[in-house]
């Protein structure tokens, strides 16, 4: 149980996917201009991460022990098609849920955060439950980083900043400061 809690907190804060591993930066910088959109994108990403952890576990246990060199291609194809299938399912079953996060699903099917999750979980030899907990932590951590940046960006839209600074350059510097703040969590487990 201790181990699971550690995996969760570590993926959520100490090794935050966006701010320490630099994964999923494209949506992080591209979509984070409003709070609502980024919360929805975060939700969708968490969902895809859970699906990914499941797929990765199935592939690792039943398929890839016979052909390790096919790892990359297998991950991509299986994750992308599963997500596509679930997208169709949601569209049929719950239009409200589809409106909330459906449009983001194809966008994030295989961005680097998703693939990174599958690869990290494999490299560390996580089992089924550990993988799901890891995905949950990583997804919520991603949402957290996205929502924080979106809030800061909404504020900065209203303030008077030099013309030169506007756009990606300033977002990156804001992200740098956020990342420094998250480094404070690194000491959380120094004794463990």
């Amino acid at each position: 149980m201790d181990n699971l809690a550690w995996i969760f907190i570590s993926a959520l804060l100490v090794n935050n996917f966006v701010l320490t591993y630099f994964l999923g930066l494209c949506p992080f910088l591209g979509v984070s201009n409003s709070l609502e959109t980024s919360a929805r994108l975060g939700l969708a990403t968490t969902f895809v991460m859970l699906v990914t952890a499941l797929c990765a576990w199935v592939l690792n246990t039943y398929v890839l022990i016979y052909a390790p060199y096919l790892r990359l291609i297998c991950f991509i194809v299986v994750i992308a098609s599963t997500v596509q299938f679930i997208e169709m399912l949601i569209k049929k079953l719950s239009p409200a849920l589809f409106r909330a996060m459906g449009i983001f699903l194809p966008l994030i099917t295989t961005n680097c955060a998703i693939l990174g999750l599958a690869i990290f979980a494999t490299n560390r030899g996580y089992g089924f439950v550990e993988g799901i907990v890891y995905a949950l932590g990583a997804g919520i951590g991603f949402t957290l980083a996205l929502v924080l940046l979106a809030g800061l960006r909404e504020e900065s839209e209203l303030s008077n900043i030099p013309r030169l600074m506007k756009g990606t350059a300033m977002n990156l510097i804001i992200a740098g400061v956020l990342s420094m703040a998250f480094m404070g969590f690194a000491g959380l487990f120094s004794s463990a």
Binding site: L19, T20, Y21, F22, L23, G24, L25, C26, L29, Y69, R71, L72, I73, I76, V77, A80, T110, N111, C112, I114, L115, G116, I119, F120, N123, R163, L164, M165, G167, T168, A169, M170, N171, L172, I173, A175, G176, V177, S179, M180, M183
Partner: protein, 214 residues
């Protein structure tokens, strides 16, 4: 004429449409592995190989790939080249491979590579596609190297492991830690913005002077 065309495709990737500094693509590997110049170069070379190889293949097969499933085809081609690059690095430079870790397989998810296949290789003949890929990958390599070199010099006081400043230099440790990546790239982009504003101002001045002259 023909030679100029390929040269044009080559040079635009290096400077005018530089994938990192101007289009802001391929950020994830860009920031994650540039904590030293040697890692940056290894990553750049791997990306170079993957981009040029897949551009060549996509462009050669462009009339056979059905429109509806083109993205999946591109991704499978890219993933194949990435697997080759992964195993090659593991065999040749195991130490660098260990440091880059999971980021080599993640080249697949580099949006710059898929973007070039979609926007260029699937529409143009092989020669132009390869020139375009070499230019873009060269620009990416250049960007990775400059970021890696800046971070290593400031964060470690060294370049390629050689000490530069002697003993009295206090390394800025923050530069090789994750925040340093964001900050360095932010400052480089600021420089590019400044450069573009200056150029626009200069062009406006020239235009004004020409109008005045007439």
């Amino acid at each position: 004429m023909k030679k100029n065309e390929s040269y044009e495709e080559f040079i635009k990737g290096i400077w005018r449409d530089n994938p990192v500094f101007v289009q802001v693509l391929g950020m994830c590997p860009m920031l994650a592995v540039t904590n030293s110049a040697i890692n940056a170069i290894a990553m750049g070379m791997a990306t170079f190989f993957v981009l040029v190889g897949s551009s060549f293949l996509v462009s050669s097969f462009r009339s056979w790939i059905p429109k509806q499933v083109r993205i999946s085809c591109f991704i499978i081609i890219i993933a194949t080249f990435v697997t080759v690059a992964d195993y090659t690095l593991l065999a040749l430079v195991p130490k660098v491979h260990k440091e880059l870790g999971a980021f080599i397989p993640l080249i697949v998810a580099n949006c710059m590579i898929l973007g070039r296949q979609e926007a260029f290789s699937s529409r143009y003949p092989v020669r132009l596609a390869v020139m375009d890929a070499i230019g873009m990958a060269g620009g990416f390599l250049l960007a990775l190297f400059s970021l890696g070199a800046i971070r290593e010099i400031l964060g470690d006081g060294a370049l390629f492991g050689f000490d530069l400043f002697g003993e009295n230099f206090e390394p800025w440790v923050i530069m090789i830690l994750p925040p340093g990546g964001f900050l360095t790239l932010g400052v480089i982009l600021l420089f590019f913005n400044w450069f573009r504003f200056k150029k626009d101002e200069f062009l406006a001045e020239v235009a004004a002077a020409e109008r005045g002259g007439n």
